[in-house]
Amino acid sequence: MNGLAVLIPIALGLGLLGLAAFFWSLRRGQFDDLDGAALRIFVEDEEEAAP
């Protein structure tokens, strides 16, 4: 029983963390352009143009 008292909160906490991470990425628009992300690695940066 003592083990459970530690392990169950940990399990739930990790699950909640995952859920929170998913909501965060949803709100930040990480899923808005799924096909584009795969192509962006081919895009060469124009590094010095950045201010």
């Binding site: 739930l12 859920l19 909501f23 949803l26 584009g36 962006r40 895009v43």
Partner: protein, 704 residues
């Protein structure tokens, strides 16, 4: 320079984004324009999001795209989009995530209970499950509860009624079990049910979003406007929504009219094909009335605006369409039709189980437990997933071949079609002038024509450029190119002056033509005509072999329709007004399920009234909005592919229903006899869901 300017955000649809190169070109090229601060490409939706200074006007921004070689259409307004449908599907996704999280954690606890936890540990686990499940059901179950309540209030029943009753009853009973130290709780079953069903709902809404995104990108008339001549003699760009009667629009060749009006200066020819289906251009002179949506072909004209927005000729067609669309909204989707039979059956079974066990004398607690098991196990988990899973796979495949399907119900209706009525101009034909007999010109004439045509954005020049480039003609070396609006292009070629322009005297009635002259001497006359889509014959034959009767429904004159009808061996009705088309469709609809294929404004009511409808990507906005599905490109074969895919999808859906019923035939007797513990329910539910999703995946790669 350092003052902070509030930037405005704008979205543009750019249909030509195809590769990583396009992303780089757009994102890095656009910001070189002073007025544009940032540009972000959304590849999936083929959109570009810009932050720009507030005084950047639309034509300038579109020009910036043009300079990079992309065509851009503004979407929405500058206020950013508050899209209710997209918000709805995001809410569903959040519900899916919450239900998924809860399902996994409850399953974690349930597995320990099933593998033998007892006493205080089991009670603790049950309480924990309840603490996770109850808020989840309250949050993730809302879409079902809302829809079930709406149905019940109208004294109807739908799929959501047994779902809601099952979930609520199961969680109430499980809570009671938990409080009385019982052995079985159904929290995991209830939450799993919600999870699977939400997945189905979410897939359905994703499909609609995706198609709507594609269609928004195609709606080119959104956010159009006109150059308006001000009182001070200067012209400025005004958005179509801000146009007012009395304003004077300057319409260049190649532009579409943004409002109805009367010509006050200049004369030109207008392409009415989107409005009336008429293929021959109409000559307009001062005082002639002109309509929004027509394309100016020849020369710049000044038009005094007489009506805008809802007052235009469009309004009449919009009213017809509103009436016509009511028939379509009566269509009941296959899942709902199944639910009409299914829901009463499920309720009757559960009630029967309860009553039966009470009579045998099992006590109300035991009887209720079994009734809940019946409800949970018969809940249409597979049914809720069977239809959307198949339809989204089919729609994804169709999108790959350039067909946008607006929603699942469109696929269901397309599968039932047994007759097709097709518009001529713009649907069977390309709906744009194509240069004829180019290969007969001498090589140096071809290359001169290309050099001059490329310098102009006149519709005929663009058609000529397209035709010559298809022949791999090299461009002649000309310089000092000058375009005179309304007359043509002039340039120097060595010591000669070459011109490409409108014929000096009208040739052959109202046919479109352009003439190439060197030093004033006529060298060649190039004629233009609309022509059939390249695979029209093959597509029509394929439709016939699939058992679909086809006929032409055209607004054009009989003389113009006859050659097309003859070539395709189709019967045709000609000279039809929008009302005539609607009436012809209604006559056929009595005995047949009619597919309407058309592009023009005049097809709008018929498209709205057809059992199913399709429009080419080049169609008018009204046509695209009214139709169920849009095919891109010049070919007609996608129509055939769509109909075949729709039929295959329907077959898969039927198989899935059969699987779901087969599963119930095995599971229901077990539940009746009281053998369905929460463990069996969990296995049966996930097993049947995987089965129907796996079956739906077979639609992938169904189009070779």
């Amino acid at each position: 320079m350092t003052t902070v300017i509030a930037l405005v955000e704008r979205d543009f649809a750019v249909p030509d984004i195809r590769c990583a190169g396009c992303i780089a070109k757009l994102e890095q090229g656009l910001v070189r324009d002073r007025r544009i601060a940032t540009a972000r490409v959304n590849f999936t939706e083929k959109r570009v999001h810009l932050s720009c200074v507030p005084d950047a006007e639309l034509p300038d921004l579109i020009g910036a795209f043009m300079a990079l070689g992309f065509e851009a259409h503004p979407i929405g307004n500058a206020l950013g989009d508050a899209d209710p449908a997209a918000a709805g599907s995001r809410e569903l996704l959040r519900a899916v995530a919450v239900a998924g999280f809860a399902m996994m954690n409850i399953m974690l606890l349930s597995v320990s209970v099933w593998s033998g936890a007892a006493g205080a540990t089991r009670d603790l686990f049950h309480w924990l499950s309840a603490m996770i499940a109850l808020p989840t059901i309250a949050y993730a179950g809302r879409p079902f509860f809302r829809s079930a309540w709406r149905a019940l209030r109208h004294r109807q029943t739908n799929m959501d009624v047994p779902i809601s009753i099952g979930v609520l009853l199961a969680s109430t009973l499980s809570l009671y079990e938990t409080a009385t130290h019982g052995a079985h709780t159904y929290f995991d079953g209830a939450v799993m049910l919600l999870f699977f069903l939400l997945c189905g709902r979410w897939l359905d809404s994703v499909m609609r979003d995706r198609a709507r995104g594609g269609i928004t990108a195609l709606l080119r008339n959104m956010g159009t406007g006109a150059m308006v001549l001000g009182a001070d003699g200067k012209s400025r760009w005004i958005d179509a929504t801000a146009l007012e009667p009395g304003m004077v629009m300057l319409v260049a060749a190649g532009e579409r009219l943004a409002a109805d009006g009367a010509v006050i200066r200049g004369s030109s020819r207008l392409d009415l094909s989107l409005l009336t289906g008429e293929s021959a251009p109409q000559l307009v002179r001062p005082d002639d009335r002109v309509h929004a949506g027509t394309l100016n072909l020849d020369a710049p004209v000044e038009i005094k605006v007489s009506a805008v927005g809802a007052d235009t000729a469009l309004a009449d067609i919009a009213r017809l369409m509103g009436e016509a669309a009511q028939g379509k909204s009566r269509y009941v989707r296959i899942a709902d039709r199944a639910a009409r039979l299914y829901a009463p059956a499920v309720h009757a079974l559960a009630l029967l189980a309860f009553v039966g066990w009470m009579i045998i004398g099992a006590g109300w607690h035991q009887s209720l437990l079994i009734a809940v098991a019946v409800l949970i196990i018969t809940c249409p988990c597979a049914l809720g997933l069977a239809v959307p899973a198949a339809q989204i796979v089919a729609a994804g495949e169709l999108m790959r071949v350039g067909v946008l399907v607006k929603d699942g119900s469109a696929l269901e209706r397309l599968a039932e079609v047994d007759r097709a009525m097709i518009d001529k101009t713009g649907t069977l034909t390309l709906g744009r002038p194509e240069a004829r007999d180019l290969e007969r010109l001498a090589p140096h004439v071809q290359s001169l024509a290309l050099a001059l045509a490329q310098a102009s954005r006149h519709p005929l020049s663009e058609a000529l450029t397209r035709g010559l480039q298809a022949l791999d003609v090299a461009r002649a070396d000309v310089h000092a190119i000058r375009e005179t609006p309304g007359f043509g292009v002039e340039a120097r070629w060595g010591d000669h002056v070459v011109t490409l322009g409108r014929p000096s005297d009208p040739i052959g009635g109202d046919a479109l033509a352009t003439q190439l002259s060197i030093d004033g001497a006529l060298i060649a006359t190039i004629r233009f005509a609309d022509r059939l889509r390249p695979d029209a014959r093959a597509a029509i034959d394929a439709l016939r072999s699939d058992g679909i009767d086809v006929s032409i429904l055209s607004g054009d004159r009989a003389a113009a329709v006859a050659p097309v009808a003859r070539e395709l061996a189709m019967t045709a009705q000609t000279g039809m007004s929008p009302q005539d088309k609607l009436a012809a469709l209604a006559r056929q609809s009595v005995t047949h399920k009619v597919l309407m294929i058309g592009d023009g404004l005049n097809d709008g009511p018929a498209l709205a009234a057809g059992h199913a409808s399709m429009a080419p990507g080049s169609a008018s906005d009204v046509g695209k909005n009214a139709s169920d599905c849009i095919f891109l490109g010049d070919r007609l074969m996608p129509i055939v592919a769509t109909l075949r895919m729709a039929r295959r999808t329907q077959a898969i859906v039927r198989q899935n229903f059969a699987l779901a019923i087969g599963y119930n035939v095995i599971a229901v007797p077990l539940a009746f006899l009281g053998y369905v513990t929460p463990l069996v329910a969990a296995l049966a539910m996930s097993g049947s869901s995987l089965l129907v999703v796996g079956n739906a995946m077979r639609l992938k790669r169904a189009i070779r």
